[in-house]
Symmetry: C2
Subunit: 255 residues, 2 copies
């Protein structure tokens, strides 16, 4: 049974400050928790679920979890969840160890220059997982990777893609010859015809302001996704959709 | 001032049934309403906003709106809104007239085979607007175009992209020679190398089940977006991201 203190602790993880204070976070949803049981078992501290969900678990999963599995009512899960529609299962995980080391980017890396929408960040992590991108670096003002909506939108990809909070300057200092590519709405080179360098850091701007002007001088090429000829007024593409198109363009160019 | 009956009516439009019963819907958000004032003025029935927002409106917009502009407190807007963070302005609009006529698809059309997430639908509408796609056809079990989260994610693109609820059969009956292209996760033709037909209907499957099996026999080509070589486990791409990559691939092939 879940103790009052455990409930309070889990509920407190809705706040980013508390997540980082104890370096734990919560993942919700049947598909994602199911995936984690297979891949990240050693980081799972607790699994809370309804007795109905428990019945769907394999004997192996049940044995593996042992006392880490706690049954509870939907109302308890709802009290902990920060999603609109709470799921019948959630898991408490330890964050991976933090490191200040900046490993060099091989292949295509992404730098998110202030992505604020948790759904966009999660979807970009999913894009990076699909294309096997090296690392996602996040400017300090990006939304938190462990935000429940980010984790949900990533569909489990957060457990396979390395993310790090880093300034563009520190990445440049660690790897001065890395090509930095900027993205802009119009007037850049057509990303689908661009001859991409094998190693590059692609900078995706924030939803409302694009790439920060302080980074402009560091950028060697600006890329755009051309509109259709019959387009009549769209101002921009969603940041995650743009990341997907650019990722596809990179892999096409490298083949 | 907003009457009690007006408030009740506006609030009732949170339900799809009520929206279609009176063929009206609500749009929220400063950017979107700002765009609508410029482009769709004749469909706007009311604009509700805080006095602070009113100050940001041009004299022309104020004159144009006249008595259709109603000032109200944030609490009233919150009472009507169905978004997590209500904005200082919302507009009541008439739906465009419904037509049963199926106009032939020229260029690339999209058929959404059961998209359930309102954010995904809105983002796909934005993709279609960017690429200037002809029409989006929706299977009857798609989420509603006038769902507030769909409209918000479309960023105003809903006013420029034609959408229609239609069965695949009715589209085929109206245009028997139209190429139907299916999308699948693996094993399809690489969409980025495909020689796209000039006119085609691209079928995007639902988030959880893909393209319905009953449509398989009608499909002439299956397309996929290849994973990166270093991808280690992503199961799929987000439906709107996939639509964006496929749209970009189409336009690249047609250039």
């Amino acid at each position: 049974m879940l103790s009052k203190n455990q409930f309070k602790h889990l509920r407190s993880l809705r706040s980013k400050k508390n997540r980082y204070a104890c370096r734990q976070f919560i993942v919700e949803g049947e598909t994602i928790v199911g995936e984690l049981l297979n891949s990240l078992d050693n980081r799972i501290q607790l699994v809370l679920c309804t007795s109905r969900y428990q019945q769907s678990l394999s004997t192996q999963a049940l044995r593996q979890l042992g006392e880490r599995l706690i049954l509870c009512d939907e109302s308890v899960l709802r009290g902990i969840s920060s999603l609109d529609s709470p799921s019948p299962v959630l898991a408490l995980l330890d964050m991976p160890r933090e490191t200040n080391e900046i490993t060099p980017t091989r292949g295509l890396g992404l730098y998110l220059d202030g992505i604020r929408d948790p759904g966009n960040l999660g979807t970009i992590i999913r894009v990076a997982d699909w294309f096997g991108l090296h690392t996602i670096s996040l400017a300090a003002d990006c939304v938190d990777v462990y935000n429940p909506k980010t984790l949900q939108a990533s569909m489990g990809s957060f457990s396979r893609v390395e993310t790090r909070v880093a300034s563009l300057k520190s990445i440049q200092a660690a790897q001065p010859d890395l090509a930095l590519l900027g993205t802009c709405i119009d007037e850049g080179i057509d990303a689908l015809e661009f001859d991409w360098p094998a190693d590059a850091l692609l900078i995706i701007g924030s939803e409302s302001h694009g790439v920060r002007s302080e980074h402009e001088s560091a950028i060697s090429h600006w890329l755009s996704i051309p509109r259709g000829k019959t387009s009549t007024g769209a101002e921009s593409l969603n940041a995650a959709v743009a990341a997907g198109i650019l990722g596809a363009a990179y892999f096409r160019s490298c083949r």
